[in-house]
Amino acid sequence: MDKLQVTIMPEGLSVEVEKGSTLLDAANAAGITLKSSCGGQGTCGRCAVKVLEGTVNGGDGNMSKAKRAEGYILACTAKVEDGPVTVEFPESSRLSEHQVLLDDSLDEIIKESQVDDFEHSDEAFVKKVQVTMSEPNLMENVDDLSRLSAELKGILGTENITISYNALKTLPAKVREGNWQVTVTCLITDESAEVIRVEPGYVDTPPYGIALDIGTTTVVAALVDLATGKKLRQAGTFNRQAGMGDDVISRIVYTEEEKDGLKEIQDVVIETINDLLEELYAKENIGAEDVSAMMVAANTTMIHLFLGVEPMYIRREPYIPGVCDAPIIKAKELGLHIHEDGSVICFPSVASYVGGDIVSGALLTGIEKQDEFWLFLDIGTNGEMVLGNSDLLMCCACSAGPAFEGGGIAFGMRAMDGAIEKIVIDDEFNVSYATVGNAAPVGICGSGLIDCLSTLRTAGVINRQGKMQDISSDRMREGDEGPEFVLVYADETGIGKDIVITEADIENLIRAKAAVFAGIRIMLSKMELPLEAVSKILIGGGFGNYLNLNDSIRIGLLPDLPAELYSFIGNSSLKGAYMALLSRSVFKHSVELGQSMTYLELSDGNEFYDEYVQAMFLPHTDMSLFPSLED
């Protein structure tokens, strides 16, 4: 197969790709992630690039005329076929360093919750023990492994000791090097202990573990000292699968339509995770072999893609996942950069659209131990929620869509530098704004969109149906796709064109918020509970921390309840994973927790649709649900 060279500017980076590859493939090969909401279908128009030298074939697809006139083409449809090319990947088409939720209140939240109820040390997944063996002689001639096992039985209190093949190979050398003193790393289960590492002499470094949250959008990892239960460091990045579609469905489609798609999409997430791990190791000055366990919380599709399990049946009626409760897998099987024999433990899922990330979040909240009714919401693409108390837990997923994460919005973006997160509109429809990192605006992020919706409504730019109004302002104009309102004029932006919000964007947002609110209403109605019976609402998800409560109620995303009932718990998925990583009994409890949640399928029956239609109004068709907003 012919290899052709692609040089990427401004870096001047050269990569070789197979003839017929797209420029998007070239970007991936160079480790540059271009924006690609549609997963390379040529429909989102985000991966606009410029060819500086050489020629490519194709490059067509959805892009504004203006952009095309400037010489831009789409990387995902442009194929390299005629010799080397030099292309420019502009900043606006790349995913910049992602702002991922990395709050430091983690320990505080853990303290508030019940992790202290459990004795970590007796329940650890991994133990590192120092062993002194008697030296053999001609009379006492038992083999090395039996000698070690005998000692470990005494220390660990279990009869069933095994050893990994790799540890076994070097065991004779290690015990002698340490002069019959060794430090042994063991994976512990209720019935057995498996030796996976033998270090000569007494080593003081603790066993390490990783708590991992694989989100559809972001991946966050925390490095944990398993001896003390202390979180040492946390790192996050965007999930590079984003280049293969914005939501779980388009990712599944990718695995079906691309050759080796599943392998490819699995490799990409493993790479994403490994890079995060390397970052953590470098900063803490440890090695991959020091980390022996990983606890993974992710939605059902992400777990399938992470493990390489065929995901296609998740999106087909009757929506059956391949696996909910995955077995513990050795790291080497997945190519993860922790100890090769380390355990990779996945949080169990409830159903195709309520995953381990929700079980993990529910674990964190302690919802299953309450006398009163609590509601846990994860406002992401899938919009999962759990309602209940110690007697009963019900969960559902309302597929809000990616709007709150910037998907399907003309200038929507994730919460990166330059994302507008707040706007103010004065009487003359002048707009002022605040951006993430105080950078020049390049788009609008989820919290900004919620603020926008609320502010546009209050200022009279849109009516309660989300329709643009005839206002006397140049900012209101007819765009390519209907009416639009200019938030920032080109000269103030970081992208050289006006940042607008369109009527279609507003409609997408209203759909998203209606889905979440309808989900809440259905759960309450299925349990025959009045809203007032809910004594606490916990909001999780990477997005949860930035959400403005007043705006969210004003647009009818969240129920009209007093602010003191709401708690924002940030990345609940990661925090729950952290808790479970520390204790086998906590993990076992979370497996039971997942099994105790009753899954409510919203696509069954008309009720959800009816509630959804009612919620497609600002704040709601039934205004009596929002008494605090009445004049």
Partner: protein
């Protein structure tokens, strides 16, 4: 021991709407009509108040190329339908409580009358009879806005009911009604949610809720009247149980719906097994109207004099306690 009749206790009555202004009220109508105000489901006199009789507004259509079937036109008179003023007088004599003037001629395809010409037609009708008046546009959104504005201004103080406000365009009509003291018909396509949303949107322009009448866009007998009935019933129960955005009187364009169907106009020769058309047509319209009455409709917009006669007889019977 006597049987105890169970009675439903409702939270609120439907709002009442007053159609037409007399001289004392600043208009020129011979009388005004109040509709709505029900405190219970239709005609459940044992349970609550039904203070106002449903009314019949007979249609006058300004369409120069009227496409009504001959059988219907013949019942009114060819010369009558050519002249809105004459037609209004005919309707009064046929027992109409009010006139429903449909300005189809505003549509460029049906005469293309200017807004001023349309306003003049409304004034002619007001001059011809002293009945309260309901006026609706042609249905062509591009011309109706200006036409209804002109009518609203020209008839200021008469207390008309103007339609149709729909979610896609309601603002101009609300403004026209608000400034000239008229009521407004809020039309939604058999959808409770859109109905409520439209009423909220209209209310937000400071239109008093007492001046809104709901048109749920009913259908005819044989063409889904059951669904229309269930939507009306659901809305009325919602209103009575406290939903302020649904507590308005209802209007239904019964004549338009019934006479679209071949069961109403199909000739005796063609559909012999259906019976005599001259009886079948009015019966079809009257039956549709009767179903609407049971759904809670307060204003019936009708066409055939015989159908009107029948339904008025039924209204009287239903209103007898």
């Amino acid at each position: 021991m006597a049987v105890q009749i169970l009675k439903e206790k409702y939270a609120q009555p439907v709002r009442a709407f007053k159609l037409g202004n007399t001289a004392e009220e600043g208009g020129t109508r011979g009388y005004s009509l109040t509709v709505g105000g029900e405190g219970t489901l239709p005609f459940q006199h044992y349970e609550g108040e039904n203070p106002n009789k449903p009314i019949v507004a007979m249609e006058v259509n300004s369409n120069k190329q009227l496409d009504w079937k001959d059988t219907l036109v013949d019942a009114i008179g060819k010369d009558v339908v050519a002249d809105p003023a004459k037609w209004a007088q005919f309707n009064k004599e046929a027992g109409a409580d009010a006139i429903y003037l449909k300005l189809d001629s505003a549509d460029p395809d049906k005469g293309g009358d200017s807004p001023e010409a349309c306003a003049q037609i409304a004034k002619d009708v007001l001059a011809a009879v002293d009945l309260p008046l309901i006026v609706a546009g042609s249905g062509n959104a591009t011309v109706d806005e200006e036409v209804l504005m002109a009518v609203a201004e020209a008839t200021k103080g008469e207390g008309l009911l103007l339609g149709f406000a729909e979610t896609e365009h309601y603002k101009a009509l609300v403004a026209a009604c608000l400034g000239n003291g008229h009521g407004i018909i809020a039309r939604s396509p058999l959808d409770i949610n859109i109905c409520k949303q439209l009423n909220i949107l209209i209310g937000e322009m400071n239109m008093p809720m007492e001046r809104i009448v709901i048109d749920p866009l009913v259908s005819s007998v044989g063409y889904g009247i059951e669904y229309a009935y269930s939507i009306m019933e659901r809305g009325r129960i919602g209103a009575l149980t406290g939903d302020k955005t649904l507590a308005m009187p209802l209007i239904a364009t019964v004549g338009f719906e019934a006479w679209r169907q071949k069961e109403a106009w199909g000739t005796t020769e063609e559909y012999a097994e259906w019976g005599e058309q001259s009886q079948r047509g009015p019966a079809w319209e009257a039956t549709t109207a009767a179903a609407c009455l049971q759904g809670g409709v307060d204003i019936l917009c009708m066409r055939h004099p015989d159908a009107v006669k029948t339904i008025k007889h039924q209204i009287d019977a239903l209103m007898t306690k």
